[in-house]
């Protein structure tokens, strides 16, 4: 088998097709979902490819996003995936990419977005008075908000420098939980503008040259900030709401 599929590529392909308004009826969902089931491990995690690779929360997210986009959850065992995700919550409230690893902005995004897509966390959960939640919500909230550093930007881990992209990874988590308004938006905006390059686009840190990755997440971060002229964002999929609906 020389041209095996990759879960991350599949997620990207489907997201792009969704964004450009492609008719999903033409996609062979059945094959994708069958193939995907074989990538899920016993502990609930996913590998990206069949012949072996690292396994962590990134691919659980890819799987959940694919099922969501295809509107078909036969591609994965949601309960097992949920169990793996819960094992990734660290003692400080954030999520690591694997059980035991340090809590990290990207891991936390993958965890919360996956749980949201799978239907395990309700809309705007912070505004509800339900104290029962499958994750330690107050600790997660505290961890996320503490990621906003003195320079206004967001860091991916405690005691690390701020980085443009975490304005999306962490900002999205707050948005998904219904706590985005708890951040200091002006301070964040100020930080992001210092990361905007004179050539256009965004770099990782103030003064850095721009790259596509940080530019994309810089824009999504501004969308979360409801910057005039930008379309609203679907935080769970990392696409505009219009794209997510296939408009």
């Amino acid at each position: 088998m020389h041209n095996g599929s990759n879960l991350a590529s599949t997620y990207c392909a489907l997201a792009i097709l969704k964004a450009v308004g492609y008719n999903f009826a033409n996609i062979d969902s059945k094959s994708i979902l069958t193939s995907m089931r074989n990538l899920q491990q016993h502990d609930g995690s996913f590998m990206p490819i069949h012949f072996g690779a690292e396994k962590d929360l990134r691919f659980v997210y890819c799987a959940a996003a694919i099922c969501f986009l295809l509107e078909d959850w036969s591609g994965m065992d949601r309960e097992r995936a949920k169990a793996y995700i819960l094992n990734c919550q660290s003692y400080d409230g954030g999520f690591g990419l694997t059980p035991g690893s340090e809590s990290h902005g990207g891991g936390t995004y993958c965890a919360v977005a996956s749980l949201r897509l799978m239907g395990f966390i309700e809309d705007n959960v912070l505004s509800k008075n339900t104290s029962s939640s499958i994750i330690d919500l107050p600790l997660l909230l505290s961890w996320c908000l503490q990621r906003q550093a003195a320079d206004g930007g967001f860091q991916g881990r405690a005691n690390k420098p701020s980085d443009t992209c975490y304005a999306f990874w962490i900002g999205s988590v707050l948005r998904m939980l219904g706590g985005y308004n708890l951040i200091d938006k002006e301070a964040l905006r100020g930080f992001l503008l210092t990361c905007q390059s004179q050539y256009g686009g965004f770099g990782k840190c103030p003064g850095d040259l721009p790259d596509l990755y940080h530019s994309f997440y810089g824009y999504t971060a501004f969308s979360l900030l409801e910057e005039p002229g930008l379309n609203p964002l679907c935080a769970e999929l990392g696409m505009t709401e219009f794209s997510a609906l296939g408009i």
């Binding site: 072996g52 690591g96 340090e102």
Partner: protein
């Protein structure tokens, strides 16, 4: 089976095109097929295109030979992110029974300039797994070396945790964490690893058994740098799933009081005290006095409810999270004043 040692840097300068190498003369390179309408095509350097075209030839014909093995090294050095090449290299290693120690050495040589490459670390794990428990010391050494270059390299930590759980070697891990924290008490990765060891090491007694000494160590770290988030989170983590013991441990509130008394760097002390109160801790009068003594610019008389008073101070002294402290205040249960 020989592999060329340490020539990865040399290769670039002295490279002979594959088309001119006699040992490759029988192979027809297969160009990349991007289809009829490539979108955002990459402007490959000729040496890259050539290398990958020869790779495709041996990959599709499944030629697991010495020359293929050498070719995978060249392809990896040109693009270490190509997981298909790494995978084929592993297949060749198995077929030819290549020396796994040599392979660890190869990964070691290219690790410094590829320290955050997922494929490299997966390959290292694959080799180590094949070697089994005999690889423990080498892997702990390797990750230690990588962490000396970047004490927070996520991949290195992930690999180290895998080694400990899959192959063992827990003996010196707590000491290693101690050493790293001695170098940088703010290293959150080292704090996380400490938690990992304390909770999972088969050589220690488990969290409950370790809790007392860990609390004392953590409190010392807090008092040394109360503005350091890591030990505060770690302290709370020591009482994970045991809120009752947490609020009943007098050391929890006393460390908050100590920091508050210094009147500097007390944000985490305040938020921790707030959390303790929210979970049922009854603060004595000295806490009220300590808050009053902070003398923060406030918009009105101090609240009779200590929880509310703390929130109001935090709104001032942690302005970045002002909205959060307002929200926390709004969520406080309406209690009778603690007086």
């Amino acid at each position: 089976m020989e592999s060329d040692e340490g020539d990865e840097q040399q290769q670039e300068a002295e490279r002979l095109p594959l088309s001119q190498r006699p040992e490759w003369s029988d192979v027809t390179p297969i160009p990349q097929d991007d289809g009829p309408n490539p979108v955002v095509p990459i402007a490959y350097k000729p040496e890259f295109s050539e290398t990958m075209s020869y790779f495709r030839a041996v990959y599709y014909s499944n030629e697991r030979s010495s020359r293929s093995f050498q070719l995978t090294k060249e392809a990896i050095c040109l693009n270490p992110g190509n997981y298909t090449v790494w995978h084929f290299r592993r297949q060749i290693i198995e077929t030819l029974h290549a020396d796994l120690q040599d392979e660890l050495a190869f990964v070691g040589r290219i690790a410094k300039s590829n320290s955050k490459n997922y494929q490299l670390w997966h390959h290292r794990r694959w080799v180590a797994e094949k070697l089994g428990t005999g690889a423990v010391n080498k892997e702990l050494q390797f990750t230690k070396k990588m962490l000396s270059l970047d004490a927070k390299n996520y991949h290195a930590w992930s690999h180290r945790q895998w080694v400990l759980q899959a192959l063992g070697g827990w003996e010196d891990e707590l000491d290693y964490c101690q050493m790293l924290l001695g170098e940088d008490i703010f290293n959150n990765s080292a704090w996380n690893q400490r938690y990992f060891v304390v909770t999972r090491s088969p050589l220690l007694g488990g969290l409950i058994a370790m809790r007392d000494s860990e609390v004392n160590f953590t409190i010392e770290a807090i008092l040394g740098n109360p503005e350091n988030e890591s030990p505060w989170r770690y302290l709370r983590g020591l009482y994970k799933d045991d809120t009752e013991s947490w609020i009943n441990d007098p050391r929890m509130s006393s460390v908050c009081l100590k920091v508050l008394s210094t009147k500097s760097n007390y944000v985490f002390a305040l938020s921790t005290l707030l959390d303790l109160i929210c979970h049922g801790f009854w603060p004595s009068e000295e806490f009220r006095e300590a808050i009053n003594a902070l003398n923060t610019p406030d918009s009105g008389p101090l609240d009779s409810d200590l929880g509310r008073a703390i929130c109001r101070v935090l709104e001032c002294v942690d302005p970045l999270r002002c909205n959060y402290w307002l929200w926390r205040k709004s969520k406080l249960p309406l209690t009778v004043s603690s007086q």
